[in-house]
């Protein structure tokens, strides 16, 4: 005790700021209490999301058995796989075209277009797509999943583009010069040197695009045709009705998936460093 007091009396920590640590701790508590509460009630035996009646997995079972949940989850997955696959491919090409070159004509417009989904409020993009797709639907009569996939793909492009571009910029040009010096053709240089080095960035971009697509609510809600619910829009619809812990159960599973993907992403990043 005496030692503690004594130490404190002449301890001057350069980095310390009064109250900052407390605020930070409050901040973390604030961030995690609601999520934890939600997760806890996913395991509630009773029908309430407020009254604890004992542990049970019944809501996970019930969510698993719910045709609508399965249907919308499957749709979410299909859209996310297509959207992340296509957006990552085109974003990789775009990143190669725009990185490590001298500035070119139309450069600013290209960047503005690529980053547009990040700058324009989502609701505005959603409304724009709603109007545009309504026109296309009346003209062509097609009302399939293609619209959702197209909307998600465009929206995901900047999210895939940024990590790939960052990776490319961090790469040493000398490696490619060396490959060229050792008689590799441009295509071989790309295949054997650039691509393998770029790969972690591509994976990161694809993962981000996948999560972004999976999580999207606003655009999906506005663009989807009847009967085209994804998991988030299904949940949004359910919130209008009486809430049961089934929603908590679905949320918990989605949260778990997010954490797993993030952990993978984190480990991948650390390894590539």
């Amino acid at each position: 005790m005496f030692k503690l007091l004594k130490r404190k009396s002449f301890r001057f920590d350069i980095r310390h700021q009064n109250g900052f640590t407390s605020i930070a701790i409050i901040c973390f508590i604030f961030l995690y209490t609601p999520i934890f509460t939600m997760m806890v009630y996913a395991f509630n035996q009773g029908d309430s999301i407020a009254l604890w009646e004992g542990f049970s997995l019944r809501w996970f079972v019930s969510a698993w058995g719910n045709e609508q949940v399965k249907d919308s989850a499957l749709r979410s997955l299909i859209v996310a796989i297509f959207a992340s696959g296509i957006s990552t491919t085109v974003a990789t090409m775009a990143a190669i075209a725009t990185t490590r070159t001298k500035s070119f004509r139309g450069q600013n417009i290209v960047y503005a277009i690529i980053n547009q989904p990040l700058m324009v409020p989502e609701i505005v993009t959603g409304v724009a797509l709603l109007i545009f797709f309504a026109l296309v639907k009346t003209v062509t009569g097609y009302a399939g999943l293609g619209f959702l996939i197209l909307a998600h793909t465009a929206f995901c492009i900047p999210f895939a583009y940024l990590p790939i571009r960052a990776r490319l910029e961090g790469m040493d040009l000398i490696l490619e010069t060396a490959a060229a010096d050792l008689y590799a053709t441009p295509w071989k240089t790309f295949r054997l040197v650039t691509f393998p080095l770029l790969f972690p960035g591509i994976i990161a971009g694809a993962m981000l695009a996948f999560v972004i697509s999976l999580d999207n609510v606003v655009i999906t809600e506005l663009v989807k045709s009847a009967g085209q619910d994804t998991l988030p829009t299904y949940m949004l619809g359910q919130l209008r009705r009486a809430i049961t812990p089934e929603i908590n159960a679905i949320s918990t599973v989605l949260l778990a998936i997010t954490v797993v993907i993030l952990t993978l992403f984190y480990l991948l990043n650390r390894k590539s460093e």
Partner: protein, 317 residues
């Protein structure tokens, strides 16, 4: 990548020609690589915005959609309303209230996230290298968690039967549950919750590069803690604070999911008002005008941000 000089030399082209064709080839290759992304984005992001602009000048259709007749009503109705009987124009209370609420809540959200986010970013940046990535990871989890799930989690907290009311009851602050859900306060709590990581992350990235030798120099030159903070730390990490504020303010202004769930249709924000015009409201031109209005507001703040950061960047050079 490298212009293939040898073959061209054999053909006997002058070197300037070789370089010219090579750079032309490179130019072609660039646009070839860019085109798929650009086509997709023009088709499903940028292009449709122009259609919205066109629609904002049309007349609403009877059930949905538009009639192709020029009209300024959509734009007028953004903040005015036309009396159905007399046709006179007056300021629209409802729309003004929603507009003011959107701006007020966005400002409050920005300030509150800053008050909580700055110390948190500072806290993370001053941990040891190993610990830092863990704390950062704890910020990124909520950041990447589905917005809907996070809003839903807050909703469970502020419900009448939620833990906030339960806590207040247990502490005898109140004797019966108070209505928090579907109020402005609920929306504010939700937006604070949802956007907090967006404030922490950019400030942290400024803070991370901050050289604490400067703080030592400040103390060495007789500055107290507060003065070191105000004169040295804050000016240097200002770009991070500005970036965080914009990243919070802009999406707050266009928020849709959070006010929809926590405001429950009673407390609307601009995003909900826009969506309403394409649903029950059935006034697509008004919705289109409101969308462009929101877009314009957003762009003003983004431009302000660019101005602010480039100014601070200049003062560093």
């Amino acid at each position: 990548m490298r212009p293939d000089n040898t073959t061209n030399h054999e053909v006997g082209l002058p070197i300037s020609e070789v370089i010219k064709t090579a750079s032309k080839k490179q130019e072609q290759r660039r646009w070839l690589l860019l085109s798929p992304a650009l086509i997709l984005l023009l088709l499903a992001a940028s292009g449709p915005l122009l259609i919205v602009l066109v629609y904002s000048f049309l007349t609403p259709g009877d059930y949905s959609g538009v009639i192709w007749e020029l009209s300024l009503d959509g734009w007028i109705q953004v903040i005015w309303q036309r009396d159905i009987f007399t046709g006179s124009i007056a300021l629209s209370d409802a729309h003004l209230r929603i507009l003011l609420r959107s701006i007020k809540l966005s400002f409050l959200t920005t300030i509150l996230t800053l008050i909580m986010g700055f110390p948190t970013a500072y806290f993370i940046a001053t941990r040891s290298k190993k610990r830092r990535s863990l704390w950062l990871f704890l910020i990124t989890i909520p950041f990447w968690t589905n917005l809907l799930i996070r809003t839903f989690a807050i909703m469970e907290v502020v419900r009448n039967e939620g833990i906030l009311n339960a806590l207040l009851l247990a502490l005898n602050v109140i004797d019966q549950p108070i209505q928090i859900l579907y109020t402005d306060f609920a929306i504010l709590a939700g937006m604070l919750y949802v956007f907090l990581p967006l404030m922490v992350l950019p400030i942290y990235s400024s803070m991370e590069r901050f050289d604490f030798n400067l703080v030592e120099a400040g103390y060495d030159l007789y500055a107290t803690r507060w003065r070191t903070m105000r004169r040295i730390i804050l000016p240097i990490i200002r770009p991070g604070i500005v970036a965080g504020s914009i990243l919070v303010f802009v999406p707050s202004l266009g928020a849709y999911v959070t006010p929809r769930i926590l405001g429950g249709g009673k407390s609307m924000m601009l995003g909900n008002l826009i969506e309403l015009q394409f649903g029950q409201g059935n006034n697509w031109p008004l919705g289109a005008s409101l969308s462009f209005f929101l877009l314009a507001l957003t762009m003003i703040f983004l431009l302000l941000y660019v101005r602010l950061t480039s100014k601070s960047a200049k003062s560093h050079v």
